[in-house]
């Protein structure tokens, strides 16, 4: 389902050293409320860890599918949903997929990026980090990147994850 190429990555015609994870995956609505955890080894203390993450599609535009999902939600979440309430389904469109990233180093939590943008270029260094992530030293050892799949509403949702260490 995904492809991991150790040490070398050919991307845009450039060979990149320091790649730790390079993966793609395809999710379905059945994957909602699950986590995907990539654990990797950082062989030596690093100066900068980079995480590129993206997923698509972000939004569900299919009206029939939206209507079904929203009305199912309204029946569940409203106390006594009446016809007016159920007919208001369009006001909840468009529904979105939501996947978020969190990071753990060998000692524990290094932050989470809980926001809605589906394309994220993230980094951690000793004295700075993308909002949500925790700056500090990047010790060698077992690290992990967790993708929390909060919701997949489209028939399929594809993600790409690229983690590498190094200066750019």
């Amino acid at each position: 389902m995904y492809l991991v190429i150790e040490d070398l990555l050919i991307e845009k015609g450039v060979v990149r050293t320091g790649t730790l994870i390079f993966a793609e995956g395809k999710l379905t609505p059945a994957c909602s409320k699950s986590h995907i955890k990539y654990t990797f080894n950082l062989p030596v203390q690093s100066r900068r860890l980079n995480i590129d993450f993206e997923y698509q599609p972000k939004k569900l535009f299919d009206e029939e599918r939206s209507k079904m999902l929203i009305q199912e939600g309204l029946r569940r979440f409203c106390e006594n949903p009446d016809e007016n309430e159920l007919n208001s389904w369009k006001s909840y469109m468009p529904l979105s997929n939501l996947l978020t990233i969190s990071i753990d180093d060998p000692k524990g939590f290094r932050g989470s990026v809980h926001r809605h943008t589906p394309v994220q270029h993230l980094f951690i260094t000793e004295d700075a980090a993308s909002p949500g992530l925790i700056q500090g030293s990047l010790p060698e050892g077992q690290w992990s990147v967790t993708i929390s799949v909060h919701a997949v509403v489209t028939e399929e949702c594809c993600y790409k994850l690229h983690v590498w260490e190094g200066d750019d």
Partner: protein, 335 residues
């Protein structure tokens, strides 16, 4: 002496999906008349590192926390300086999650329990199975601007009342779930917390106030209540337990309305106002009040009474609604 400080207990910054940095948010909160906010970003504590700067530049206090933004409900961990993990907590494991929050020194609060859930708002509807409600410290009864008229909040208020009736003493708070934006002319709610005048450690003081039920919620004036038992010289305030000697005793319950708080930050329509006392036995009594009459007392029989709270009714934005309510004073038989 105790003072009542206006708090916003549920906020987000750029560290999750908020619009502002913590410093910007704190300054904006100060300009709205708050003297304390809780930083409760989704699933991260990376904003905690900006706390000193934000406090220094805004002059208000910031309580560190985070909002567990999970698949089965949102829970606020209030007053923690370290991360507590939610990712391995399943829908039947929340009691373990709450214990972990407590172990880290925080309070555990159920956030907006009846907010629309997934996929409209992922995990926002509370669906965790709580085995022991006595371990939950508080519940957000009011969420978002103009909370009193929202069906989800009316339902949360009812859940809280049901839990009080079952004997649980969990505190009701308001949390706007503020992402830094504006809300036009909609009234913003405030949780006033009763803390000691000379409190040094504000995080500790805020936690003690919430845990102790010293909280009063309002979209306008500050509502306070005290009780005095017949043949007993002690005065009881919000969150206190009054030990009664015999059930034939009566209590004099006095409600105060302070219209001077957060001056010019709210307005009430010109309409009749009333104060009602509620308890586990339902509505106990009601009386009219006005701008000129800021105090009202009631005689309350204590027979079968486990708790009493005050509610203020009036009109805002042309809608007759509850404006404010207090947390209860509790009654128990004992020495």
């Amino acid at each position: 002496m105790r003072k009542w400080i206006p708090c916003e207990l549920h906020t987000h910054t750029v560290n999750s999906d908020g619009e502002l940095t913590l410093t910007e948010l704190a300054k904006k909160a100060r300009d709205m008349g708050f003297s304390c906010i809780a930083l409760t970003d989704h699933n991260t504590i990376s904003g905690h590192w900006e706390r000193d700067k934000a406090q220094a530049e805004s002059g208000i206090d910031i309580v560190r926390g985070l909002e567990w933004t999970t698949f089965y409900g949102h829970m606020v961990a209030m007053g923690i300086d370290k991360y507590v993990d939610w990712r391995e907590i399943g829908p039947k494991d929340i009691d373990r999650g709450i214990a972990n929050i407590h172990q880290a020194g925080g309070l555990a609060g159920v956030a907006h329990p009846f907010c629309m859930g997934s996929p409209m708002c992922t995990g926002c509807y509370w669906s965790y199975e709580i085995k022991d409600w006595s371990k939950v410290d508080y519940i957000e009864v009011w969420s978002e601007p103009f909370p009193s008229i929202e069906a989800k909040n009316i339902r949360a208020f009812r859940l809280w009342t049901d839990l009080l009736n079952q004997g649980y003493r969990l505190t009701a708070v308001s949390g706007r779930d503020w992402h830094g934006g504006d809300c036009g002319s909609d009234p913003v709610s405030v949780t006033y917390l009763g803390i000691e005048e000379d409190a040094k450690d504000m995080e500790k003081a805020v936690k003690e106030a919430i845990a102790g039920g010293r909280a009063s919620l309002t979209m306008g004036p500050l509502l306070l209540m005290q009780a005095e038992l017949e043949k007993d010289s002690s005065l009881y305030a919000l969150g206190d337990i009054a030990y009664i000697k015999c059930r034939n005793q009566k209590a004099k319950v006095t409600v105060n309305i302070d219209y001077s708080v957060r001056k010019d930050k709210w307005s009430l329509d010109d309409a009749d106002m009333s104060i009602a006392l509620f308890g586990n036995v339902g509505k106990l009594c009601e009386g009219k009040i006005s701008r000129e009459r800021s105090e009202i007392s009631f005689e309350v029989p204590l027979e079968n009474l486990k708790w009493v709270r005050a509610e203020l009714y009036g009109r805002m934005k042309n809608i007759d609604t509850m404006i404010a309510f207090t947390n209860p004073i509790y009654f128990e038989e004992g020495a």
